[in-house]
């Protein structure tokens, strides 16, 4: 009995302080913390979700005889009124806002490595500001397109916008343009916007926790790194949303 107890003692398994008994476990093989690893694998699964949406978009778009020309759909710009003709202008601004916001959070992570609490707070603030600005831009763009008549099941962007009238005459539909365009646009940019919104909330929490000195007392700013990973992923997804809806 005593022997059994001794063996159990020797192989006592504590996930936090693994014993150095030559069976491995004393060293992390990936040299990356548990939290960051899990954030990466969550983002991998999220990448599959976004890929599924974008691939569905591609399949539906390929199945149509034509598709609304982005240069004639996305040409509005705030302050230029309904007659504005600045194709891709506003969405380029949105892209830059998101890239700069991402950069601000990278800087916050770097200041975190230096244990510079004030630096983390300043750069997180700019990161949050960029995220809020992006959401504001998106709200304006959705509002603009809804005013032009775009709905999840109705697409006003007919063939006259592309000079492709002949293709549609033989195939008259109740919606001037491919019906799925609205649902795909609102669905995919909306899902991305939801990620931006969640990211802003998480970053605000990170900012408040930093200002309260939570991470400083902990001795490291790894939480800011995890928030940063999520935030850059949002930027990464935007690259492909931009590609699918605005460029192609």
């Amino acid at each position: 009995m005593a022997e059994v107890l001794e063996i159990q003692e020797e192989h006592h398994f504590d996930p936090l302080t693994l014993p150095n008994n030559g069976e491995g476990g004393e060293e992390s093989p990936m040299k990356i913390s548990y939290g960051k690893t899990m954030m990466w694998y969550f983002l991998l699964s999220d990448a599959f979700t976004f890929s599924a949406f974008l691939i569905a978009y591609a399949a539906i778009r390929i199945s149509q005889p034509w598709w609304p020309n982005p240069n004639s759909v996305f040409k509005g710009f705030p302050g230029f009124g309904p007659e504005a003709n600045l194709p891709l202008g506003f969405v380029s601004v949105m892209t830059f806002v998101l890239i700069l916001s991402s950069v601000a959070v990278v800087r916050a992570v770097q200041e975190g490595h230096r244990m510079n609490k004030k630096g983390v707070m300043i750069w997180m603030f700019f990161g949050i500001l960029g995220g809020v600005a992006f959401l504001g831009c998106q709200a304006w763009e959705w509002n603009n397109l809804i005013h032009e008549g775009l709905r999840p099941f109705y697409n006003p962007f007919g063939p006259d916008a592309n000079g492709l009238t002949h293709l549609v005459e033989e195939h008259q539909q109740w919606s001037p343009g491919p019906v799925a365009f609205g649902a795909l646009f609102f669905g995919i940019t909306g899902f991305h916007g939801f990620h931006v919104f969640t990211g802003v909330l998480l970053n605000v929490w990170g900012f408040v926790a930093t200002s309260m000195g939570v991470f400083h007392r902990r001795g490291h700013y790894e939480m800011i790194e995890k928030l940063g990973l999520y935030w850059h992923f949002v930027d990464l997804v935007w690259v492909f949303v931009f590609l699918a809806f605005y460029l192609m």
């Binding site: 690893t37 694998y41 991998l44 539906i60 778009r61 982005p70 380029s92 950069v103 001795g219 590609l243």
Partner: protein, 108 residues
Amino acid sequence: MADHLSDEQYKSAVSAVWKATIILGVVTVVEVIAALILGPKLPKVLMNSFYALASFAKAFFIVGEFMHLKYEKRAFMISLGVPLVFLVWAIIAFASEGQSWFLMNHPK
């Protein structure tokens, strides 16, 4: 756990980030200008391949530099990259499926 940086590492990390920012900005500007000027003139296939290539370049910069994956262990990079191979199948399969829907609706 926190790998604190020396002054030198810090400086080079900061300059690497600004460099990546400039590259991302320039690639985006080139994409938009190409879409506005060359888009209506050149064949759609050529333009789309250019946009896709430029976007993947941007993606590599974001993942490598901003998300710091370039500096992680190789095994970790592979564990994230290999599952994405499924997407190659998905893109090919669903693109050809879309093509087939088109041909069903528009018989020659």
